[in-house]
Symmetry: C2
Subunit: 351 residues, 2 copies
């Protein structure tokens, strides 16, 4: 096979009943995309939602604010590197940062299953507090519901957030343009593998830790230096490949990435090989993708690498005009491969 030939993984949409929600609808892949488009966007059609952002940006008086929401159903609640509490704070802080906003305020909504341990709840709430302090945000409003035993799963947490969008920033998938470079802030797949290992009691030689972390301070600095960033996105559910697919579709461009430039820790890679996962599709919770004009990429990389949670950043690829909607991987072997959006579910309930 010639190295410039593109081969695709065959990813047929699984034959699921159209009438019932499946786990795949929560995967961040094709079924989630369909559910959102056919049910939610169909009804809630408005300019904010249609921006296909990690959050919505609106004008309040003289300011631009970002507003985002995320519900966390991770199982198990505690995993190496974190728990549902810091995950819920970091996740929403990151979603605000991906809108180009400085995170300010969070809400917290708890659904607790009857019989859940108050001690565990205390630990989780304590982690939320610590994460909030670390991010400089305050949790200023909340709600608690309790459901009967067997009608929930220990604890679900919704965090919604408000942030202040910095002046002169315009983050939108619509702005992606051929010639843009793609920066990935660090090594991938840590979170998904850490959660799965904890859930299934898998013991790898080296324990994999979740990368859950807030990256708002990196973004804050980055946007001061490179105001023309086109897109920021955290590759959570669906991983880097899922996120890039969404962006290629929204921006009507193709995205080329180099496999050799995408870092995967050795222990994570081994785990992925054993479990049969492609790390490109595994969730991250402390990484981001930045797409910006090629001319600014080196400067941006320097800024990102100056931070602890960005010191493994790399320019992993670029944006092109041909084959709009496609994400194409230059493999280690010198071949090219289409990275499809996953249709079903690879790893349920990792966030």
């Amino acid at each position: 096979m010639a190295s410039d030939e593109i081969t695709g993984i065959s990813c047929p949409v699984p034959q699921v009943s159209n009438e019932k929600i499946t786990l795949g609808h929560g995967s961040g892949g094709l079924l989630t995309h369909e559910l959102i488009t056919k049910i939610f966007l169909k009804e809630f059609d408005n300019d904010y939602l249609n921006m296909s952002h990690d959050g919505a940006v609106f004008i309040s008086g003289t300011q631009k604010l970002a507003f985002t929401t995320d519900t966390f159903v991770v199982n198990p609640l505690f995993f190496p590197g974190g728990n549902i509490g810091d995950l819920a704070v970091n996740g929403t802080v990151n979603d605000l940062a991906m809108c180009g906003a400085v995170p300010m305020f969070l809400s917290a909504g708890f659904i607790i299953e009857e019989g859940f341990s108050q001690e565990d709840l205390k630990k989780i709430v304590h982690s939320m507090k610590a994460a909030a302090v670390n991010c400089g945000v305050s949790i200023i409003t909340g709600d608690t519901k309790v459901v009967e035993k067997g009608k929930g799963d220990k604890l679900f947490i919704n965090t919604s957030g408000i942030g202040l969008v910095q002046d002169g920033i315009d983050i939108s998938p619509k702005r992606i343009a051929p010639g843009d470079k793609i920066i990935l802030s660090g090594s991938i797949a840590d979170h998904g593998i850490a959660v799965l290992a904890a859930r299934e009691n898998l013991n790898f030689r080296t324990e994999v830790h979740s990368d859950t972390a807030a990256v708002h301070d990196i973004i804050n600095k980055l946007l001061q230096v490179c105001k023309d960033v086109h897109v920021l996105r955290d590759p959570t559910r669906g991983g880097v490949a899922g996120t890039l697919n969404e962006l290629a579709r929204s921006g009507q461009v193709s995205i080329f990435i180099d496999e050799v430039r995408v870092k995967v820790k050795e222990e994570v890679n081994s785990a992925c090989e054993i479990l049969g996962f492609d790390p490109l599709y595994v969730a991250n919770e402390g990484k981001f993708i930045c797409i910006l004009p090629g001319s600014e990429a080196e400067e941006a990389l320097k800024v990102i690498r100056s931070f602890k949670y960005g010191n493994d950043a790399e320019i992993i690829g670029d944006v092109r005009a041909e084959n709009p909607g496609r994400v194409i991987l230059h493999t280690r072997l010198g071949t090219k491969r289409v990275l499809e959006m996953l249709s079903g579910d690879q790893l349920p309930r990792i966030c």
Copy 2:
């Protein structure tokens, strides 16, 4: 017994394990209060949360914004008069209104149980849209998670909201003062009874309908006419008695109410008698309590009654300095009775 003697219903805190969450912790009563105080407020201590409001109010540039969150776990999802969708929109719109804010934007976070009907999801999302249009708010950001069958209960919805607080408005339980009057916007207990009847397949001679409705337009007009409103609160979980107890504690005052002035529809009253519920403790979803200086009460009542969802409003009582923290009912029989905050759960999962 002399008519001015006060008798209390004995309401001991039930002997529950300190270490496990019980349904009572979600009741809106004493256990909820303890949970919030001992676990959430202990960690998330800040001026916004400590205001003990239905939402938080913060300054954004030149504007005052309100931010609130509510998770809906009502069972069943559909009940006479509404469903979880319009309930989730109206509920958060009302919470914003209770902060003296004009509701603007909502987020929607869905936790869907695997196997849930897409048709039902469509109906619910359609109701959310209709309720949002009716309230003049847009749902601008969202999130969807799917959990395995048996790990949720069909559908839970979180809505968070942002609203613009009108100029010159200062709503806070701390402002309650002796001499204030208490207005209740209509008849009580419809929602809780409607949901319970639907859940348990109870057939009353006259079907009870939920009162789910948005009251933001009443509040909007009320605050234009009576700027000195001290408190607004919607008596949802825990009902009117639960809400007044919270307010009496926060404001360190006593609240006296006249039983004869609290309206209960005949069919609702019959249902409460059959089921052994005190309507004062049953949830409402389209009513509010307004506490304001006595001198403004008649004018406020006129405004509230001019609206469809306020035409049954009454001044039901007043605020006094004696016995701070107490809520006292002047009964139909001419006696006085302390209305305690419920310790356990009267009706789980009504919102």
